[in-house]
Subunit: 325 residues, 2 copies
Amino acid sequence: MKKFSIGIDIGGTNTAIGIVDEEGNVLVKGGIDTPSHGDIDRYVKEMSVAVKDMAKNVKLTNPDSEILGMGIGAPNGNYYSGTIEYAPNLSFKGVVHLVKLLKAEFPEYQYLALTNDANAAAIGEMIYGGAKGMKNFVMYTLGTGVGSGVVVNGDLVYGHDGFAGECGHTTLIPGGRLCGCGAKGHLEAYCSAPGMKRTAFELLAHYNDMDSLLAKDSFEDMTSKKIYQAAVKGDKIALEVFELTGKYLGQGLADTVHHLSPEAIFLFGGPTAAGDYIFKPTIESMENHLLPIFKKKIKVLPSKLSAGDAAIVGASALVWKEMEK
Amino acid sequence: MKKFSIGIDIGGTNTAIGIVDEEGNVLVKGGIDTPSHGDIDRYVKEMSVAVKDMAKNVKLTNPDSEILGMGIGAPNGNYYSGTIEYAPNLSFKGVVHLVKLLKAEFPEYQYLALTNDANAAAIGEMIYGGAKGMKNFVMYTLGTGVGSGVVVNGDLVYGHDGFAGECGHTTLIPGGRLCGCGAKGHLEAYCSAPGMKRTAFELLAHYNDMDSLLAKDSFEDMTSKKIYQAAVKGDKIALEVFELTGKYLGQGLADTVHHLSPEAIFLFGGPTAAGDYIFKPTIESMENHLLPIFKKKIKVLPSKLSAGDAAIVGASALVWKEMEK
C-alpha cells in the first residue's frame, strides 16, 4: 500500500496544493487563489473542493494507495492551536481556526497539522532533504521576507506559544533600516530579496555610480535576480551587494549558532541560487563573529529541497513527522 | 531514605562544593582552590578528598540517606563528552576528561554529569526555582561575563556540540566594544558587570560630569554595585547606565525570543539585585524589538535561586535531571 500526504502552502496571493509520496516526490500539483474576501469558511470550502478533486485523481491512478493526512504551511500558522493568527498579508482577520475547519471537511484523515511556511520547510529538509539524520539544525528561508525553522533533538522547536523560529526579526543594526514589521534594523530588512535591493540602492547612492548595470532599473523594477546577473558580469555594485548581504547574514547566523549550537544551517530561497556569491561572504562573516569553540564547526549549506516544490513538499512533511509521535 | 546530590562549581579561582537535598537546600558547603598548576589528575585527587570528607559527614548526621550522584558546572563544560574544552580562565590546557576521571574516584555514584555554569543554573531554576513546571524558558546569568541556558520542551538544549546557550556572545552592536572573546559588539561587553562599568565610563567621558558620584573611582575600582548605590541616590550618570544596560539587554532578549518563543526569561546575577532599575528598561527595550505576535507575552523574571548557593545548587540539579532520563 503506497502512502501519500497532502501539502498545502498558503501564500499571500496563491494557495499551492500537492500530493506527495514518502520520498518527497510530488504526484499531482494544483492550487487556488488565496482570496481577498476574508471569508474563511468560503475559502476552506474552495480549498476542500480542489483537494478532494486531486485526491480522487490520485486514487484512480494509484488504486492501492492511502492518503494519511494533510500538512499546511501558512504565515503565522500556529502548530499548537491549529490557527492562523493576525497574518498581515492574508485577508482573514484575527485568529482563524483553520485545522478545526479542515477536520470537519476531512474526517477521514488521521493527521492534520499546521505551522508557518519556514517551519514546514525545515521539516521538509529533515524528512526529504539535506538534513536527513541531523538532530540539530536551523533552516533560513530567504525570499520576500526571511523565515526560519529551528530543529533541536530531532524535533521542530515551536516554543511556548507556537511561534519560535522568527530569526528574520532579530536585530542586526540597532536603529537601522525599517523592517516590514515596523521595528528597525531586523535581519529581514537586509537579507531578504528586497533587502538586497535596498543595499543595491544604498550603494548606488553612495558611489553615485552611473556605469553600474544596476543604474538602469527603477526601485520598483529591481530584483535580487538582476543583481545576481549583474554580479556574474562583474558589476562592482552588484558584487558589493553580495559581500554586504553575506556580512549581514553571517552576523545573524552567528547569533543563531550562539543560541543553539546547530550541526548545520541550511539556506533556502531565491538569493541562494547565487551560490558562492552569497555563501562565501556569509560563511566568512559568520566565522568572524563566532566564539572559538564554534569556529570551523558549523556547516552552512544550500537546501536540497527543489525550489519550485519546496513549500508544498515541506508542508506535506508535517504528516510524516506527526506519524513519528 | 533521604536522597542527596553533590553540586560542584568550578570557577577561575575557587571550586565550590555542596551537598544538596531534593528541595535545593544546601546541607554542607565547602571548597578548594581551583589550582593554577594545570595538573588535572592532582586537581581531581584534591577535589575527591574534599568531596569524600563532606559525604562522610553527611552520612554521619543522616544515616538513612543516599548520595545519588554529582553534577559539575564549569566554564566550557561539555555535557556530551564530560570534558572541559579550552577554558580560557582555567589552567588546564586543551581538552580535559573530567567526568571520566571523577568516575574512577567515585564508582559508587550512578549519575555524574557536567555542563557549563549557566546551563547548570538553568537546570537549577527548573528543578528548584522559578521555572518549576515551565517547559520553555531561557536563563541569562549576568556577572563577570554573561552566560545563558536554553530549555526547550523541558530539556536543556546542548546542541550538536554540547555548547548551545552562549547568548552572551550574540552581536548587539556591529563593530562595537571589544569582547573578552576577541570579537566586537557582543552582548557580554555591554550587559555584564564590567560592561556596566564601561558604560559608566563612556557616559562620564561623554558628559564630562564632575558632580557624578561615579567620578570618584578609578576604572579598576568601579563596580556595578557602586553604580547601583549611586543610582539609588539619584545620580544621573548611574541612572543612565541602568537605562542603557536595559536597552542593550532588551535587544538581546528580543533576539532570544525570536529564536525560541520562551514562556519566560530569567535573569540571575549581581546586576539583577538592582531590581526595577534594570528590569524596567530591559523589558521596555525587549518589547520595542519584538514582533507583534510576541508583545506582552514574554515574562522577564528575577531568578529564584539564592545568589550565594546558586552555582552549587544549579550543578547539583543536574543529578535529578539525569534521573528523569
